[in-house]
């Protein structure tokens, strides 16, 4: 069974500090939903509010349509996977997994049976009598998941559970988490600052910054159609060109930047005279003069070869470089350091957004 989670104007304040400001959100039942944002953006606060460890200062948290006010963490149909897993070190693996059943007053035989089922699910059959300290990092991870699933929650909350693993294992666990979610069919709410994790696993993503939800959409939309300057600069690489809108229509806008007039799409309907930032992804740049589209020119500061692609850094307007990525077999000569490079991008790939806070590098 799975339940949706609704946040209705949730605000959480610690003294004078507002950790989450007026969050409105409807997470659908059975969805793999991620909160993505830099550390300190309030995503963990949201998770702890949903799980019941924090009381919102204003607003409501609803799970399966039911208001959770006054319901403690131990009475909510949620289970939380902690960042450090928080396995009980003095209990065996089986005891860990069956702990939720123990406090529900289930008898020993049932607990044992259920623990064995879950051990099979996480491919640790026959290892139930080990102590947690005997397990590897990946095994601990799986035990934590099994322990949370044992109580048959309607919503599983995950607080950056992969951050302690090494890269290879982390990538494997992404697939694993996704497939577990699809098998058990419950709602997963996943907290991460790693956009790779969010983009590969999630049905939808909420991008957060400074306690505010900037955008909620699926991964592709967040990447291709960011709604704010923060989202555009935080998710994936992006080259910002700040300036003033000089000409605007319904679909297109021209921004007057340090590199001259640059053209891009205008989804937010900016008007001439508005302060704006034009974003162009590194992979959207092509070398040479383009027939259609916008062309710009700048000296090459640095070139970095990375196997399947090459990064070229051009001298940008302020201190920031312009980055472009050149694929391996696109033809043409990759410019060298010191040369002047001419690049262009198709107009549809430039994006004009209102000026706003950017993600810190």
């Amino acid at each position: 069974m799975s339940a949706g989670v609704d946040l209705d104007g949730v605000t959480v304040r610690f003294g004078n500090f507002t950790a989450v400001n007026n969050a409105n959100l409807a997470i659908r039942g059975g969805e793999f939903f991620s909160f993505l944002g830099p550390s300190g953006c309030g995503k963990t606060t949201i998770l702890r509010t949903v799980s019941g460890f924090l009381d919102p200062s204003a607003g409501k948290v609803k799970i399966g349509g039911q208001d959770m006010a006054g319901i403690g963490p131990n009475k909510r149909p949620t289970a939380l996977i902690f960042q450090n897993l928080a396995l009980f070190p003095l209990m065996t693996v089986s005891e860990n997994i069956a702990y939720g059943l123990r406090v529900r007053g289930m008898d020993k035989a049932t607990r044992r049976k259920k623990a064995e089922e879950l051990l099979d699910l996480i491919a640790l059959s026959g290892q139930g009598d080990k102590l947690v300290s005997e397990l590897s990092g990946g095994q601990k991870q799986r035990v934590a998941i099994a322990r949370a699933l044992a109580v048959e929650p309607q919503v599983l909350l995950l607080d950056e559970p992969l951050s302690a693993l090494d890269l290879k294992l982390r990538q494997h666990m992404r697939n694993e988490l996704r497939s577990i979610q699809q098998r058990v069919g419950i709602t997963f709410i996943y907290i991460t600052h790693d956009q790779g994790e969010a983009l590969t696993m999630s049905d939808r993503i909420a991008v957060m910054s400074d306690g505010v939800i900037e955008q909620v959409a699926d991964g592709k939309t967040v990447y291709d159609e960011p709604e704010t300057a923060f989202v555009a600069s935080f998710v994936g690489e992006n080259n910002p060109f700040p300036g003033k809108v000089s000409k605007a229509s319904k679909d297109e806008a021209v921004v007057d930047t340090a590199f001259g007039k640059l053209k891009g799409r205008n989804p937010r309907g900016l008007k001439a005279g508005d302060k704006a930032i034009l974003f162009v992804r590194p992979e959207s740049f092509k070398l040479g003069k383009g027939g259609e589209g916008t062309t710009l020119e700048s000296p090459v500061k640095n070139v970095a070869f990375e196997g399947n692609m090459t990064h070229v850094f051009l001298k940008g307007a302020a201190k920031k470089d312009i980055t472009l990525t050149v694929g391996r077999h696109v033809g043409g000569k990759v410019p060298e350091q010191g040369e002047k490079a001419t690049v262009h991008y198709a107009d549809g790939l430039g994006l004009v957004l209102p000026e706003g806070k950017m993600a810190r590098e």
Binding site: F14, F53, P56
Partner: protein, 334 residues
């Protein structure tokens, strides 16, 4: 309301004041992490915790102390007259430390004993610090793991031999027929045994010996957590060993030094065993005088007054130590 009743009500008033403040704050300031006490502990455990802590802080600590202080401000009366009209508040017990109630002269004996006790306790504290510091440093920084384990074992075993027996062992060494006098006379250095106990040497040694390890453990704990690299770095920079100690180790070990000194001073000043069993007939020790007021003179109010003065001296010493070393109480007592 009698002064005794007032003093007993005092802690309850303080608790009530804090409770009101807490209620007010909970009502005006929203704290997202807040869970009520009963929510967090449950009824049974919650009541158990409160009962235990109240029993301790009120009935074992605060009320007895306060009650003793009040007692010291009352005259000495036979039981039948207590709580009667003659049972008024008075300063006479404190005055008696300065002016003897018998002959109205300066009470030089007790005054001398009071300051003697403080001076000797301070000296013993300093002595023990000097004795323990090198070993604590060796164990914490220079020794190998095996060595430290063995030394630790060597420290813990005598730690649990009680004060009386330790005093007894010193007495066996220093008595007229003791090993040291035997040795001195055997070597022909003296003809007659030296009266170590009569000239207070025994008491000094006993005080130092009894509190040696009290100094040792806090010092060791403090120096142990110092990063070895800091000492290495100082050595690389060419600092001589005494400078390393003066500039690196001792400043770092300050909480441990403060803690050890505080405890040793308190235990030495409050010591009964060493002055009673290792002192001569003329030894004056303030704690022993307090003891006599209770067991020989049966003058409880005056004994209470003297005990309170002893406590005040200890508190003053603690404050001075903390101020001198710029250490917080929480750092010194761990």
């Amino acid at each position: 309301m009698s002064s005794r009743a007032f003093v007993i009500l005092l802690p309850f008033l303080v608790i009530a004041a804090f409770w009101v403040m807490a209620r007010y704050e909970a009502r005006t300031v929203h704290d997202p992490t807040h869970k009520s006490y009963w929510e967090r502990n449950g009824m049974v455990l919650g009541i158990m915790f409160i009962v235990l802590v109240a029993l301790w802080t009120l009935f074992l600590v605060t009320l007895p102390y306060l009650y003793m202080v009040v007692e010291s401000f009352h005259p000495r009366l036979p039981p039948t007259k207590r709580f009667g009209p003659e049972d008024y508040l008075t300063l006479e017990q404190y005055k008696s430390l300065f002016v003897s109630p018998v002959d109205k002269e300066w009470n030089t004996t007790h005054l001398y004993a009071f300051f003697y006790t403080i001076v000797v306790s301070s000296a013993v504290t300093f002595l023990n610090l000097c004795i323990c510091y090198p070993l604590a440093y060796f164990m914490a920084q220079a020794g190998t793991v095996q060595q430290v384990r063995l030394l630790m074992l060597g420290l813990i075993v005598p730690y649990w031999v009680n004060e009386i027996l330790r005093a007894f062992s010193i007495r066996l060494l220093l008595a007229a027929k003791g090993l040291i006098n035997q040795g001195l006379m055997g070597a022909g250095l003296t003809d007659a045994p030296i009266d170590f106990l009569g000239n207070n040497t025994g008491m000094w040694v006993g005080l130092s010996y009894a509190n040696l390890l009290i100094m040792m453990f806090p010092l060791y704990n403090a120096i142990e957590s110092l990063d070895k690299n800091q000492i290495e770095a100082a050595r690389d920079l060419g600092a001589p060993w005494w400078k390393i100690h003066r500039d690196v180790v001792i400043p770092y070990a300050k909480p441990g030094i403060a803690s050890g000194c505080t405890m040793v001073f308190m235990l030495a000043a409050g010591s009964l065993a060493a002055p009673l069993f290792l002192g001569g007939p003329n030894t004056l020790w303030f704690t022993a005088i307090v003891y006599d007021f209770f067991f020989q003179a049966f003058n409880w109010p005056r004994g209470s007054a003297y005990a309170f003065l002893l406590l005040a001296a200890c508190i003053t010493f603690v404050m001075v130590m903390l101020r001198l070393f710029k250490v917080k109480l929480g750092e010194a007592i761990r």
